[in-house]
């Protein structure tokens, strides 16, 4: 049976893994390749690398890192952060990335999703959506959560999938960093409305939160960063716990 996926996310800055609290007080969390190998050994199903320092001059460093990661690990991984052209995607896929994630650039130019998916296939195009709940609605935010739009996350997710996005990576800004659990209501709404997998992100603090994201949120995969980086939750223990709760996982 197809299993639910556990996905550690690594934020990358200048070739190192970093972790901040609400994008501030960024601290070093180690060498991304070493961390990636550790996660593979613990039983992670996929990995996501987000380059938070992504600028044109940093692009080459990133593609070199991607090649190092690709040659070191034997599970699929996604690379994102500042990707806004076919050329960017081509370089990263050729460096060994399996999927790329796009966010702000796709919102500003939705045709980019269509161009990328027809050129490289939907399976490698992940649409990342940052969303925040305000006045009764979940709105899309851009530029790492700095810029508000009037678009509802639910509408944007559906449009993105119609344009060819192969997966949705949904991050709730209200939940991110709180360790109080995932935003299961919006995750469920979107997961049940689109015919592609939805990856829940933002808010993981305990093993129970993962169970809830799958059971209540109907997520296909759940992503987290700090609980894994700092060994608060061990992936193998987490998957055992999920299995005890009758959630199908690869163990």
């Amino acid at each position: 049976m197809l299993t639910k996926r556990i996905i550690p996310c690594l934020d990358i800055k200048d070739g190192r893994t970093v972790k901040g609290v609400n994008f501030e007080n960024i601290r070093d969390a180690g060498d991304p390749v070493e961390l990636a190998i550790r996660y593979c050994d613990e039983g992670a199903d996929e990995l996501v690398f987000l380059d938070i320092s992504a600028t044109n001059e940093k692009r080459k460093t990133l593609s070199e890192l991607v090649t190092k990661i690709a040659s070191s690990i034997n599970i699929p991984f996604t690379v994102g952060g500042g990707i806004n052209s076919i050329e960017d995607v081509s370089v990263l896929l050729n460096s060994g990335a399996d999927k790329i994630s796009i966010n702000t650039s796709a919102f500003k130019d939705p045709q980019l999703i269509k161009e990328l998916s027809s050129r490289f296939g939907s399976q490698c195009i992940v649409l990342a959506i940052d969303t925040k709940f305000e006045n009764g609605n979940w709105y899309v935010y851009l530029n790492g959560g700095k810029v508000k739009t009037e678009k509802k996350a639910f509408v944007w997710a559906k449009e993105g999938v119609e344009l060819g996005a192969g997966e949705i990576l949904l991050t709730s800004m209200n939940n991110d960093g709180t360790k109080n659990g995932f935003a299961n209501d919006i995750i469920k709404l979107i997961s049940e409305s689109v015919n592609v997998p939805v990856i829940a992100s933002g808010g993981a603090g305990t093993m129970k939160h993962f169970t809830e994201a799958f059971e209540t949120g109907k997520a296909d995969a759940a992503l987290a960063a700090s609980v894994f980086h700092f060994n608060e939750i061990n992936i193998k223990t987490l998957k055992q716990e999920l299995r005890n709760n009758n959630i199908r996982v690869r163990l």
């Binding site: 049976m1 197809l2 996926r5 599970i75 997998p197 296909d220």
Partner: protein, 209 residues
């Protein structure tokens, strides 16, 4: 040992190359007919679309070359589907090595909001299938030291029904062929190059054929 990765317009060759490197093999990525014919082992990788891949293989004369190979050849994902008779993806005739048709998963999701929840044992079946799933009914040397129910990583919207050439099955919306074999021709629907230790074992087995 000369292992050739066939270069064509359906990508993912890097991942396969790196996976082979990890088991000590440096493959040659090429579309040269002589290099392919003189290889000990040939791999036809594939992530892409069937009809455009077939057009490309025909233009390069690789369709005839592949069909007539005598050494072990492994098709991965789209590579396996191209070895079949016909694909519904782009409605194209394929290489015709395996006597099977490639069909699109029929999703309970089609046309917007899902009308029903779980489909049999499959929770919230979406198309394409993306993720780790089990392989069953394993036959032959390709699966040496790989146990029944082992997990492999899948990404596909089209599938091959179970039939005479099936050497492994998987369940997703239906029971289908996750691996095929006929003589020296092998195909796997999943991605061994991305399937952790179990995938690595399969690549070792293929290279050891």
């Amino acid at each position: 040992m000369k292992v050739v990765l066939i270069k064509y317009n359906a990508g993912n060759t890097q991942s396969v190359k790196f996976a082979l490197n990890r088991i000590g093999i440096e493959p040659l990525l090429t579309d040269s007919i002589e290099e392919i014919q003189s290889a000990d082992k040939v791999i036809l990788p594939g992530v892409g679309e069937a009809s455009s891949a077939m057009v490309y293989l025909k233009e390069k004369g690789l369709d005839v070359v592949i069909k007539n190979l005598k050494q072990p050849i492994l098709g991965i994902c789209l590579g396996m589907q191209l070895m079949c008779k016909y694909s519904e993806e782009g409605k194209t005739d394929c290489l015709g090595i395996f006597n099977s048709t490639v069909k699109r998963f029929s999703s309970p999701f089609e046309g917007g909001r899902r009308s029903r929840g779980d489909v049999g044992d499959v929770p919230y079946a979406k198309v394409p299938q993306i993720g780790w799933n089990n392989i069953y009914n394993l036959k032959g040397y390709l699966f040496k030291n790989i146990s029944d129910k082992e997990f492999q990583y899948f990404v596909h919207g089209y599938y091959v029904e179970s039939g005479e050439n099936t050497i492994a099955t998987t369940n997703y919306l239906t029971e289908y062929s996750s691996a095929l074999q006929k003589d020296n021709f092998y195909g796997v629907q999943f991605h061994p190059e991305k399937s952790a230790k179990a995938g690595e074992q399969l690549l070792k087995n293929f290279v050891g054929l």
